[in-house]
């Protein structure tokens, strides 16, 4: 056989990488999630040296590298710092399209907290709007125990 290559479409090989795995949340993250689950409270971690409250909580201050253990409760309401509207399909997304992710600064926190926005007209979302957490009835110790944040008041 020595005939030359026929001109044709490239052959497409379908592949898949399938990776189930477990992520250990750790002590600080576990307390954060169990408080969401058991008492619908959102906890942050304060660094007194830097006067910063981190939500979600951190075990180590990213500014001064101190070990942190000063838990503080922050509000279930906050202010929208930024947002994005998701219009493409991806298996990891928890909601039907289109929907919005927001970065929310909860009252008493110094950092932004990423979560879903719900019960809101996507076109009416504005930076600076007030939002409140909506908790699920059935909670499992997951970040999605907060169903989403909706406009407050």
């Amino acid at each position: 056989m020595s005939d030359s290559m026929p001109q044709s479409e490239p052959f497409l090989v379908m592949g898949k990488i399938d990776m189930p795995y477990k992520y250990s949340v750790g002590r600080v993250g576990s307390k954060f999630l169990t408080e969401l689950r058991d008492s619908k409270r959102i906890l942050g971690m304060k660094c007194s040296t830097c006067n910063q409250v981190y939500v979600p909580p951190k075990s180590t201050c990213p500014k001064c590298f101190s070990r942190l253990d000063e838990w503080v409760e922050v509000g279930n309401q906050g202010t929208l710092l930024s947002y994005t509207i998701v219009r493409y399909r991806g298996e990891i997304h928890p909601l039907e399209l289109p929907f919005a992710y927001g970065i929310i600064q909860l009252d008493g926190a110094d950092t932004g907290f990423v979560h879903l926005l719900g019960e809101v007209d996507l076109e009416a979302i504005r930076i600076g709007m007030r939002l409140e957490a909506v908790f699920r009835e059935e909670r499992s110790g997951s970040i999605l125990d907060i169903k989403y944040f909706r406009p407050a008041g």
Partner: protein, 160 residues
Amino acid sequence: MDKEPAAEELLTVDFHLVLPYRWAAGPYLSRFFREIRDNKRLLANRCGHCRRILLPPRVVCGKCRAPAGEDWVELSDKGTLRTFIKVVQPGWDPVEGRYRSETYMVGEIELDGAEGALLDHFLEEQDPQNLWEGMRVQAVWREQRSGDLKDILHFKVIQE
């Protein structure tokens, strides 16, 4: 006695990440896979410089680092078992998304016409006591083929 603190609850989160992808096999492998799918034929190409057989066929010879050329060679689906191994540690199968639960036999097979080029594939025989180097084997093809080396179910021992 002091009151013992409540046991700390540590959580784990289960993820199941599935990443489907596809890749274009390029001119030589496209032909290789199409011939498997449509004609149950195994194709190789011979390097124009070092004259060795490349299986699967390659555009560039890995030894010469030069275009291997289009000297196509059709290989038999019969060959000689050169070595084999029994796999007993179940590995992760990323395509199936689970551990391979059974032990299995893998052979390195020199197909007739391959001149030393070896093909790794599964063997039908599961007892290593019944296998030896130099045995004759033949591919068992699937009825439904998609253009993949898995279109060969396994190699079976043949008497000639």
